[in-house]
């Protein structure tokens, strides 16, 4: 389990790094494009080869969000409204975890099949620019498929939480709740 977690972290870090590097590449290429001798001297840096950078970053971002939430984001990292959760006693808190978890599991399971149907048509739709990078086989469905993986993983994760809550109850959150991660930098 620990190994798996480390692996997931490494994948997330890699996605993040590649995205960062691609952006830098995009800026560099834009300015090296003005100097024509660069493209002539080093054919690999020909700006015509780099139409894919923006869409590639978007694909990385989407994968980062859904793989991240499936495997890397911890409970305390989530944006949560927890005033009520923190204020109630352990029995009610346990009920909260069970209810919330079940709501997620039931609706997500219901949505897996219809979502896949919606994505089915995308098996035909080509991406705007990614064929340049990956070859002509790539379709929008390949990119969107991560959402299905996300649905399945989140269902398993919350089934596990619910099961744990039913069997053992939920731990009392520390006075400084784990819900206020220090890592949230979005505000």
């Amino acid at each position: 389990m620990k190994r798996l977690r480390q692996f997931a972290n490494a994948v997330a870090a890699l996605l993040m790094f590649v995205m960062f590097a691609t952006f830098i590449l995009q800026v560099v290429i834009r300015y090296s494009a003005r100097l024509e001798w660069i493209a002539e001297a080093i054919p690999l840096l020909d700006p015509a080869r780099f139409g894919w950078t923006l869409e590639f970053c978007l694909a990385l971002w989407v994968w980062l969000v859904f793989l991240g939430n499936a495997f890397v984001v911890r409970d305390q990292d989530h944006v949560t409204f927890d005033i009520l959760y923190m204020a109630v006693g352990p029995r009610l808190r346990r009920l909260f975890v069970i209810l919330g978890g079940l709501a997620i599991c039931i609706t997500f399971i219901m949505s897996i099949q219809p979502t896949w149907e919606r994505f089915y048509i995308l098996r035909l739709k080509k991406t705007a620019t990614l064929s340049e990078l990956f070859g002509s086989w790539i379709r929008m469905r390949h990119i969107y498929s991560v959402y299905i993986l996300f649905l399945v993983a989140v269902v398993i994760r919350y089934l596990y939480y619910v099961w744990n809550a039913i069997r053992k109850g939920v731990p009392t959150p520390a006075p400084l709740s784990p819900h206020h991660g220090e890592g949230r930098l979005d505000q």
């Binding site: 830098i24 969000v65 939430n69 949560t80 997500f108 219901m110």
Partner: protein, 432 residues
């Protein structure tokens, strides 16, 4: 309001209220909506993916998070702080001024108030409380208050989110934030000077002036960062999103090569940490995109605009009312949730009433940042409490005066739109 929409809202409020992550609560409630409408549940996932896959400006969010993390991990913040101490440390309430000035500079480098409080804020609280010149609650309170400037002065993650939901130019929003940010800095320093002299805080040992050039040189590369960012965006060199990547790259070069304070291991941890925060916020953004779809298909914002038009509310009254509401919501909700979920409801009314969206956006972001320090639910208070172990009660008892002066500053920005709009106008912005 249709029954489906009512069920959707009920599901959202109940599921979010019991502590389920907001992003999941939104997805669940949108599925409830689609079920009640008899539409395909698959629309939720499709809308979410389409939305995330189309919004280029959103890519700035993860990149600004990486940049902020790198700056906090390296010694960049320490150097800035030493420079600020040399600059304003000699006056009464000196370290309080240092606190505000360093926040102002840091806010030109990072787009996050939390990064500001957890990074530079923690160090300066240690300095302020080390020899007992300042009560620790006061040190924490002024840090929290000055950290709110972080996302007002560009770059700014909340403004990127606002640009997404309002279709406003990110460049003009960023410009619009500069004067309000400086204004907030000034009022906080005035408040600090007043409190320091009234309570008789002891003076610091001034740093000799001959040290000043050395400290400036030391901090200079870091001080250059805001300049590079702003020049990149307004000189047309980079898009705002690319500027975020350039900021991260610059911070990386500074920390790793120039100051030699960042190991490979530390960099890896930064990437994991940034991926985590980005994914968590990405989920809420995705949720907001679905919710916007639901709200739009119910035609809610237009109906609201019509209802308000019928009441003949004046623009000023409307914007004041919205701000009071946002301040109240800010006591219990997260800034991200407010910007992504609540604010889009008001935008059609703003357009209808002829309120400028850049003015509205900057004011709303300032408001949400004030919400970060309003008890009982103020993220900045929690973060400072977490990194310094100063009890929440002590921080809260010292925060009120700062809160009051910031709200007064907000009111000034509402009543005098030119505080926000003057600078964008100089760059060719034509307000409504």
């Amino acid at each position: 309001m249709s029954i489906a929409f009512f069920l959707c809202l009920a599901a959202l409020f109940i599921i979010a209220a019991i502590g389920t992550p907001i992003g999941y609560a939104i997805i669940v409630s949108s599925i409830v909506y689609l079920l009640a409408k008899g539409q395909s549940v698959g629309i939720a996932g499709k809308t979410l993916m389409d939305g995330l896959y189309q919004s280029f400006i959103l890519l700035a969010v993860p990149l600004f998070i990486v940049a902020a993390n790198i700056m906090n991990a390296g010694t960049i913040t320490d150097r800035l702080l030493r420079f600020c101490v040399a600059l304003v440390g000699r006056f009464r309430g000196g370290l309080g001024h240092v606190n505000v000035i360093s926040s102002l500079i840091f806010s030109g480098m990072s787009g996050s108030a939390v990064a500001d409080a957890a990074g530079i804020g923690k160090i300066i609280i240690d300095m302020m409380t080390r020899s007992g010149q300042y009560p620790r609650g006061y040190a924490a309170a002024i840090t929290a208050a000055s950290a709110t400037i972080g996302p007002i002065i560009p770059p700014s993650i909340p403004m990127v989110l606002y640009a997404l939901v309002s279709n406003t130019s990110i460049g003009y929003l960023f410009l619009g934030g500069i004067m309000p940010g400086l204004f907030m800095g000034v009022v906080l320093m005035i408040m600090n000077a007043w409190i320091a002299s009234r309570r008789g805080f002891t003076l610091e040992e001034p740093i000799p002036l001959k040290e000043f050039p050395r400290l400036t040189v030391n901090a200079f590369p870091a001080l250059l960062m805001p300049v590079i960012l702003l020049y990149g965006i307004y000189g047309g060199v980079t898009t705002p999103t690319e500027a975020a990547a350039v900021a991260a790259a610059y911070a990386l070069v500074l920390a790793a090569v120039f100051y030699r304070s960042l190991s490979l291991k530390a960099f890896y941890n930064i990437l994991v940490e940034s991926a985590r925060s980005s994914a968590a916020i990405g989920l809420v953004i995705g949720g907001a995109l679905i919710l916007n779809y639901v709200v739009a298909s119910e035609n809610i914002p237009n109906r609201m605009a019509q209802a308000l038009a019928g009441l003949e509310v004046s623009p000023l009254l409307f914007i004041l009312g919205v701000n009071v509401l946002l301040l109240i919501l800010g006591c219990v909700l997260d800034a991200t949730t407010i910007i992504l979920v609540i604010i889009p409801l008001f935008i059609p009314t703003c357009i209808h009433l002829g309120i400028d969206l850049v003015h509205f956006g900057v004011v709303a972001v300032v408001n949400c940042m004030i919400g970060l320090i309003t008890p009982p639910y103020g993220i900045l208070l929690f973060v400072i409490n977490a990194v310094t172990r100063i009890p929440l009660g002590e921080i809260i008892s010292e925060i009120w005066l700062f809160l009051a002066i910031l709200i007064a500053a907000l009111l000034a920005m509402i009543l005098f739109p030119d505080i926000v709009l003057w600078l964008p106008k100089q760059f060719g912005y034509k307000p409504l």
